[in-house]
Symmetry: C2
Subunit: 558 residues, 2 copies
């Protein structure tokens, strides 16, 4: 992105115009992230569900058994969905946030010509996001080096310790960055106001990490309540889990709300003109400052999950499996907290893009002074935006079922074509199964993908007929983002809580493995799978995609 | 309401000021509806779940067995939740809509002094809602008389036929009412514009009835897909059901959106000034014109359900039970479609109250020209509003579990105190069980009830600190309503679909009663129970309560 900026500068474009020109970069990142996260999410769960149904239920062979042709596809899926998908998701957040922050930086420099006199100061403001991102990377590397666990220690403690180092160093980097680049002579208090905004962002990311742990770790009340409800069967397990999933939207909402308002007020009182939104932008940068560390924690999940699979296939003693099971439960939590973090950062990044969109509409000669949802058309736009989130999730969950069918058919075909596979005398064609899931997942992602891209365009063009296209799209975007934040949190944390409720029972509670409660726990876990690995994470991408699509296509709606 | 209007008129209050004074009437209706629907919903499901768990699972006696002390409480619950609760819900919609429409009528008369000259014409506009309501009642009575079913006919057809009669007559009543009362000499086209608005409202209610039937009847794809997914167990049943529940939000949203915009545009082009919102008000009246018939269809549900229970307890032959089972499935659909209708009318009624709120804030001397969600505080208000809907649902679902525990403990106590009950030699104390559930339900409704009333006040007072109290509350209200419409639709239709997927399997599909698929269907049905009978319907009440609370307390936030 720095390179892009530099190249466009060489072409002679004025420095403050460049950010609006690299909006296409964000759109590209969104589009790829949609493929990686939605397609990857469908892939991973289709392979998982398909392999389980055809292997465990039909053929009667255990999970992760090497005779199952879909077993490699299942392991591959963990990487596709959790590593590639989440990586693309956070990359998109970073891209969206950089663009939003650079546009707001240009606006800030424009409104405060005395404070940012000279080309160097202006470029400094705009490149500030890239500079603090670099500090964040260094902080993450140091944090990762700090993760050393004693054999008897809770692995989560070691990960949290490294995270605290990262957060502390990132905060120090922020203070230095703001003092260096956001320190205009006209507003001596500005730099520490912005540094505090960065600290708010970092604190927000810490809050998300702990809130997610509370809702998805089996040491706390929510997961324990699901495990306790499993004693009366799968129905009460699902009801208890859904209640937890609904409830867990409250604290993240308060956190995001507090972060937006506090950073806005700090920015507005910095002594610079029009600096409120820039304060929010700096908080977003703070939140994303620890992204590299979080992503490293996330990949911990699939690694331990796959390690468990390899141990199963190589018939290791139970003691070893128990150890990887412990790590696997931690992996579930780190995967869940990455998703919590990802949705929090997506919310903040989307909030920045709203203002970028309003700036862009104004630049097109039709200034939107307000997005007034008391107008009927605009209210309906908001309603449609929130509905899109529900509809998209429905299509994403259905896509998993569709793609899983293709896996099941392929495995059945292989079992029939070569009876030696089930006897263990011949090797199944793992590669073919991987191919089939890939094709199935790509096909199944067409309807949700089309909906995500097509609906904002349709809404904009339709309401243009009533001359409120741009304003209605803005409401569509904003209320859609609100719906996305809530539904994604519900799906992600709910899924994580169900998964760990099962893991909690497997530690021996309520009868342990094989008990009635455990069977109920398995049902909850399976239900949570497409929630937390397909629909939930795809919603992060959706809300950013909506922002970038509308940003790029704004000229159509005005 | 007409009486209230008349009495206040006697005190000498000017006619156009009276509607704003009877806002308290709407608030009272909301409050009672919250008790009836939330408390009733908790009651019915706590008794149902409690009786089943302690009877079927622990004591091993069949459902609806007279030896179970909670069996009467279970039957009472159907009436408390579905009849009393839904009645209060629709009464509240009617009250809210009448108040909203009368306030808008006063505004209309104020802006068109030439069209509505003289006290009689002004009072005519304002009392128009009450007049067409009276026509709607007559239409419903005629419609109910038209329900005659042949023995071999689908009972749903007979009910739909009566509904069509009601809708047709209500439309005729509307045309007459608008020609009589909304026919100012200055705008000769106004009356038929408003008559068309009424027709739009009636068409909306028909659309809701058919959409709900599509999503909850087992003749159509959605419920069939859930039944088919039951073959692979409870987890796939739940996933398929949740996908249906998410998907079914799409069509109602398009319908409400189209109704709001079309009636607004018709009103705006009626030739009168400021008549757009009054057009929407007339559409709302149209939607509620058939309320009495819908309520009659709704009570069909608990009647057939309880008839089935009585047949079970009196050991009738299977052929008779099969007949009531068929009626029971129709009852599930009529209950579901009443809820669909209730949320649709709640959405329209709430939309009217928004404008009443904005009028009231303006009357308090602080005119809100826009509710601008691009302001950070206002955006956060919207986010909090949508979150309230999720949190409230979590508390409502948890309340069922809590109250069910009190039932289970009472039944256990009775079984222990008198072993003769289980042997069938002595009669259990049914009354005591009814008492216990009532107390349990009332206690359990305290947390969600407090949240519903407390949160709008807290949001208003907090944001008043930033001088945006009234505007933030407006966004809280509007986005909360959007969230409520979607989540209630999801919960209601999802629950209905799960219930009928089980009923579909019981007709002999996928192995029929007692099969593996049926067991999975029972899990889905149980999960759907607190969704469709507690949380979903309580959300209808919540969104109207939010509107009336903020309307009454607006002076606090300005």
């Amino acid at each position: 992105m720095g390179g892009l900026y530099f190249v466009l500068g060489l072409f002679g474009f004025p420095a403050t115009k460049i950010p609006l020109m690299i909006v296409g970069y964000g759109f590209g990142a969104s589009f790829v992230a949609l493929f990686a996260q939605l397609g990857g999410g469908i892939y991973t769960k289709a392979a998982d569900v398909g392999a389980d149904l055809v292997g465990k239920v039909e053929a009667g062979i255990p999970e992760d058994d090497p005779r199952n042709p879909a077993v490699i596809a299942d392991l591959v899926g963990d990487n596709v969905g959790d590593c590639a998908g989440r990586g693309a998701d956070l990359f998109e957040s970073t891209a969206a946030e950089n663009i939003g922050a650079m546009i707001l930086g240009a606006t800030l420099a424009h409104f405060n010509p005395a404070g940012f006199a000279g080309a160097q100061a202006v470029v400094g403001v705009m490149l500030f996001p890239l500079v603090v991102r670099a500090f964040g990377l260094v902080a993450s590397i140091v944090g990762i080096l700090m993760v050393r666990a004693r054999e008897d220690e809770d692995p989560m403690h070691a990960l949290n310790r490294g995270y605290m180092w990262t957060a502390g160093l990132a905060a120090a980097g922020f203070a230095f960055g703001t003092w260096w680049l956001l320190n205009p002579p006209t507003a001596p208090a500005a730099w520490w106001h912005f540094a505090l905004c960065g600290v708010i962002g970092i604190a927000t990311s810490i809050a998300f990490v702990y809130i997610t742990q509370y809702y998805t770790e089996y040491r706390y009340r929510p997961v324990k309540s699901i495990a306790a409800a499993s004693v009366t069967g799968p129905a009460t397990n699902i009801i208890a889990g859904f209640a937890v999933a609904l409830e867990c939207t409250a604290l993240p909402t308060f956190t995001i709300g507090a972060a937006i308002i506090a950073s806005y007020k700090l920015g507005a009182s910095s002594g610079l003109e029009h600096a409120g939104l820039f304060g929010t932008a700096v908080a977003t940068m703070g939140m994303l400052g620890t992204a590299a560390y979080i992503l490293a924690m996330d990949t911990f999940g699939p690694i331990t999950d796959n390690a468990g699979g390899v141990i199963e296939r190589s018939h290791q003693p139970d003691a070893i499996r128990r150890r990887t099971d412990r790590l696997d439960a931690v992996g579930n939590t780190t995967k869940a907290l990455t998703k919590g973090y990802a949705i929090g950062s997506a919310a903040l990044a989307a909030f920045l893009l709203f203002s970028a969109y309003l700036d862009e509409v104004a630049a097109l000669g039709s200034p939107l002074t307000a997005v007034d949802i008391s107008k009927p058309e605009v209210f309906v736009g908001g309603l449609l935006g929130a509905m899109l989130v529900f509809w998209f999730s429905a299509l994403a969950i259905s896509a998993v079922t569709k793609a899983a069918v293709s896996v099941i058919q392929e495995v059945r075909r292989q079992f029939q074509a070569d009876p030696g596979i089930l006897k263990g005398t011949s090797k199944p064609d793992y590669g073919k199964a991987v191919d089939i899931v890939t094709i199935g997942a790509l096909k199944a992602m067409v309807p949700p993908g089309l909906l995500a891209v097509g609906m904002p365009i349709a809404v904009g063009l339709f309401f243009k007929l009533f001359h409120v296209g741009a304003e209605t799209v803005a409401a569509f975007l904003m209320v859609g983002t609100i719906g996305g934040i809530l539904l994604a949190t519900l799906l992600n944390n709910g899924g994580g809580a169900w998964d760990n409720a099962k893991k909690f029972i497997e530690t021996g509670e309520y009868g342990g493995k094989g008990s009635f409660a455990h069977k109920a726990g398995v049902v909850g876990d399976t239900v949570g799978d497409p929630f937390k690995d397909t629909a939930g994470p795809s919603l992060h991408v959706l809300i950013k995609l909506l922002s970038t699509v509308t940003l790029v296509l704004a000229p159509l709606f005005v």
